[in-house]
């Protein structure tokens, strides 16, 4: 079954087409690396998949249902450029807040379990504004995984992470992939992305230049895809 399906997606900013008739499908349990240069349209695509922006034309479905529906949104975990946690709340309060918003049955227990998993249990009552950058990033990872999402949308997930946060995130992504969750991530870190991915999509100036399985050639030479399908 397709976990995510994007059909003929167009997105205009004024007259400028940021995405031009993009179509792809990601089967359940697969991991898609969304590649492309800066400004290619990766973030725009991910925002549409997450229901944070509406496509000008086309449709996105999640497990056969409209991606913008509340039921679909409850199955998505998103990690974007910002950490999306509140500086003036404690780590525990932040996770409890999102657990409640996702309607989880035991918000406090779930929040504490994730704080432990990300190594933040000792600072659970500390305000986020007092946290180091690495601690904030680990809290953001916990926030994205908190509700056990079926689909993970990750926008440049490894950018600006410290070593410990990278280790935490990599561990969680491998665990998510092995447990059959669907992952779509945009990244510039080709080697890390291609090692994790089962499929690859390359966007060039808003157009889908390549979409298919990750091959041995890509893994052996991460620049192979750009050389063969990228811009001249």
């Amino acid at each position: 079954m397709n976990a995510v399906a994007a059909a003929r997606i167009w997105k205009f900013y004024g007259d400028y087409p940021a995405l031009r008739e993009i179509s792809f499908e990601v089967a359940e349990g697969r991991c898609l690396a969304l590649l492309g240069r800066n400004g290619a349209g990766k973030t725009t695509m991910l925002r549409i998949l997450a229901g944070l922006s509406r496509a000008s034309k086309g449709q996105v479905t999640l497990f056969g249902k409209d991606a913008a529906a509340a039921e679909s949104r409850s199955r998505i975990g998103i990690l974007g450029h910002g950490i999306a946690v509140y500086d003036e709340l404690s780590a525990l309060e932040n996770l409890q807040l999102f657990a409640r918003l996702y309607g989880l049955p035991r918000p406090a227990e779930t929040a504490l379990a994730w704080l432990e998993k990300t190594g933040l249990e000792r600072v659970k009552n500390g305000l986020v504004r007092e946290f180091s950058r690495g601690m904030r990033q680990r809290l953001a990872v916990a926030r994205a995984f908190l509700h056990n999402p079926s689909v993970l949308l990750l926008d440049e997930p490894f950018t600006a992470l410290d070593d410990r946060a990278i280790a935490v995130l990599q561990g969680l992504l491998v665990e998510a992939r092995d447990s059959g969750r669907t992952i779509i991530m945009s990244t510039h870190q080709l080697r890390e992305a291609l090692e994790l991915a089962t499929d690859v999509a390359l966007i060039n100036r808003g157009r889908l230049a390549y979409c298919g399985e990750r091959t041995g050639e890509m893994l052996a030479d991460p620049t192979w895809l750009y050389r063969n399908y990228g811009e001249a």
């Binding site: 944070l52 509406r54 409850s74 998103i78 709340l89 409640r100």
Partner: protein
């Protein structure tokens, strides 16, 4: 039931954040007190003249002080891209909006309840009618201001000049609500109860609240997601 819980979760989060930083509340309370005290030196607060301008002065101060709180409502979500996380959650945009409106209502009422006694002392005025009737009018009018202000706070959240744009956009829309609130407050500060003619203003205020709440709830998803 789940919808109500979502509204309360958002409202509680906003109140907790604001009470930790006190950014908007401190500015709003200080502003309203300074203006009320400065005007008390500008006017001769004899009993009769006070009664005539009391409602107008109070509501102009509350409307300006309220803009400081309303401006922060959605701007607070820009820090760390928290708005994206809220919109990506299964919480409907209308629940998010109503949660923020409830938090803003409580904060604004708190500012008004600090400003009202200061006004009564400095202008030598007293509440001739029932305090609870006056409080009811304040709550209804404040809900009207809050709904319009919170909606435009969402609309202007990504503008660089939002602190300027919000008051410019909302005050013209608030005029009917302010007119009703001014009329009713002026009466309740000088007379024991509202007569039949003044009840029209009360119905007008309720109508304003119902219409603008319904409009905001219907449109907020379009405003936030685009």
């Amino acid at each position: 039931m789940r919808y109500a819980r979502q509204i309360l979760t958002v409202a509680f989060k906003d109140l907790r954040s604001e009470l930790r930083t006190k950014e908007a509340v401190n500015a709003s309370v200080s502003f309203s007190l300074v203006i009320l005290i400065l005007f008390s030196f500008a006017f001769d607060p004899s009993a009769e003249s006070t009664r005539e301008f009391s409602g107008g002065l109070l509501w102009i101060v509350f409307a300006f002080a309220g803009a400081l709180i309303l401006n922060r409502s959605f701007a607070r979500e820009l820090q760390n891209d928290c708005l994206d996380a809220l919109l990506a959650s299964p919480v409907p945009a209308s629940a998010l909006f109503l949660g923020k409106s409830v938090a803003n209502l409580l904060l604004l009422l708190a500012v008004e309840l600090v400003g009202l006694p200061v006004f009564l002392v400095f202008y030598n005025a007293r509440i001739v009618g029932s305090f609870w009737t006056l409080f009811g009018v304040m709550a209804l009018a404040t809900w009207g201001l809050t709904v319009v202000g919170t909606m435009f706070s969402a609309l202007t959240v990504n503008l660089r000049l939002r602190e300027l744009m919000l008051p410019m956009l909302v005050y013209p829309l608030m005029i009917p609500c302010l007119m009703a609130a001014i009329q009713l407050t002026t009466v309740l500060l000088g007379e024991p109860s509202l007569d039949a003619g003044q009840m029209v203003w009360l119905r007008f205020l309720v109508g304003f609240d119902v219409i603008f709440t319904a409009l905001a709830v219907a449109l907020v998803d379009t405003v936030l997601v685009g």
